[in-house]
Symmetry: C2
Subunit: 247 residues, 2 copies
């Protein structure tokens, strides 16, 4: 049996958003690895070993999957959303870079519906023009870089999707992000908070930057900020396809 | 019968990347509208009317779908990729904004796998850190705004995904884009050209900016530019999860 590592995106939560490609990979897996709540989405079956692990153990998980593949197992690492967007794909290649003896292993990355695009669809079309995706967690980068990117993206008048806006370990930082955005944009721009998109706990709220409060976000929230043209139509939020000039 | 308009993302081409949610919507449709090659992906069946139309007819198509829904039909507009990323969702809300009598119609946007994330998965994890998506077509925005956004995104050291890099009607513009990127970054940054991702015609090439040539892209190409840390490991391209400081 030829071993392999597949990193599969489970989408934001709704099983109807899991691609058939991912469903097929899960059915052929001998081992499934991932953060506890993602592995909990996989039904147990004979011949399948589940390996749930904590978050912040991404590199150890990636190394474990490579070792399983080297022993001939078909290992699937599950990510929520898309594995290439602030998820497990990069961690796997970091592990591979440090393990040249594994470079010939069979590897595949299977895309999924990332939270930003699932949230955008529920809102309407807030990312209908050029946009950025920014991870607001400073676990792996300095806050100064986050601030720099926010200001550059603002000056480019990009719409933005923010991942990991706020956690218990850094409750004050998102308040600073909102301040930076108000400095760049003023109070009128639309900002949407999409929590637990596509799950039974889904809530979605749109306010102006002036009305936005840090408590509106937690780690399950995806935040979407409009560009200068983003507006409401009925209950929807959308960004027109046309733009007239530089910001 | 209650009418509805659904905008459904078909993904980049491979049927295994179509979500079950979209498949169900297509099965319940009475009318399917869209650009000719996307409607060609839908199997005809009794009770289903197909309405293929040309590109650049997005607003007329959206109005047609709203009129069908007002007459009690279940209209599905098909987009390639994700409907919210440089596709039909924004055009639908533009049409809705101009038609207040349609504001109560039932509307849904169904997300799909966008070409940028399908291409990233085939490459490895080039968008593993903060990134931007930029539409390089100047059909609906001035080239000065494209240049401004490229420079702001470059100064933020974002990875980037470029949609619609080059067409027969504007063959020289992508050469200018490459010049701007070389002015900002120098010659060493990795750039990948992913054509017809997930279809039998798929080709994927990665070179440095210094080696990049305008002819490497056409309208079926999705271009991905790395950030300052993006690198190769074996046959893969990836961007590490960590970053040390501002660009």
């Amino acid at each position: 049996m030829t071993g392999s590592v597949t990193v599969a995106g489970l989408g934001p939560g709704d099983p109807h958003l899991v691609t058939p490609e991912v469903t097929a990979a899960l059915a052929q897996a001998t081992d499934i690895l991932g953060y506890v709540p993602y592995v909990a989405r996989i039904a147990p079956r004979e011949g399948l070993t589940l390996h749930p692990s904590d978050n912040r153990e991404e590199l150890a998980r990636a190394n474990h999957a490579l070792d399983l593949a080297a022993r001939g197992r078909r290992a699937v690492i599950v990510s929520s959303g898309d594995p290439g967007v602030f998820a497990m794909a990069s961690a796997l290649f970091e592990a591979l870079e440090a393990a040249p003896h594994h470079h010939d292993l069979q590897i595949a990355i299977l895309p999924g519906i990332t939270a930003m695009l699932a949230a955008a669809a529920k809102l309407g079309a807030p990312l209908g023009h050029d946009f950025c995706a920014i991870n607001l967690s400073d676990n792996l980068k300095p806050f100064a870089l986050i601030e720099h990117r926010l200001r550059m993206a603002a000056r480019g008048d990009f719409a933005m999707g923010f991942y990991n806006p706020r956690s218990a370990s850094r409750p004050h930082q998102f308040a600073r992000v909102l301040e930076i955005l108000r400095e760049e944009y003023g109070d009128d721009r639309l900002i949407s908070f999409a929590r637990a998109v596509s799950t039974p706990q889904e809530t979605i709220t749109t306010v102006t930057l002036g009305e936005a409060r840090p408590e509106m976000a937690d780690m399950r929230t995806l935040v979407i900020l409009g560009n200068s043209a983003t507006r409401r139509v009925g209950r929807w939020v959308y960004t027109p396809r046309s733009a007239q000039g530089a910001a």
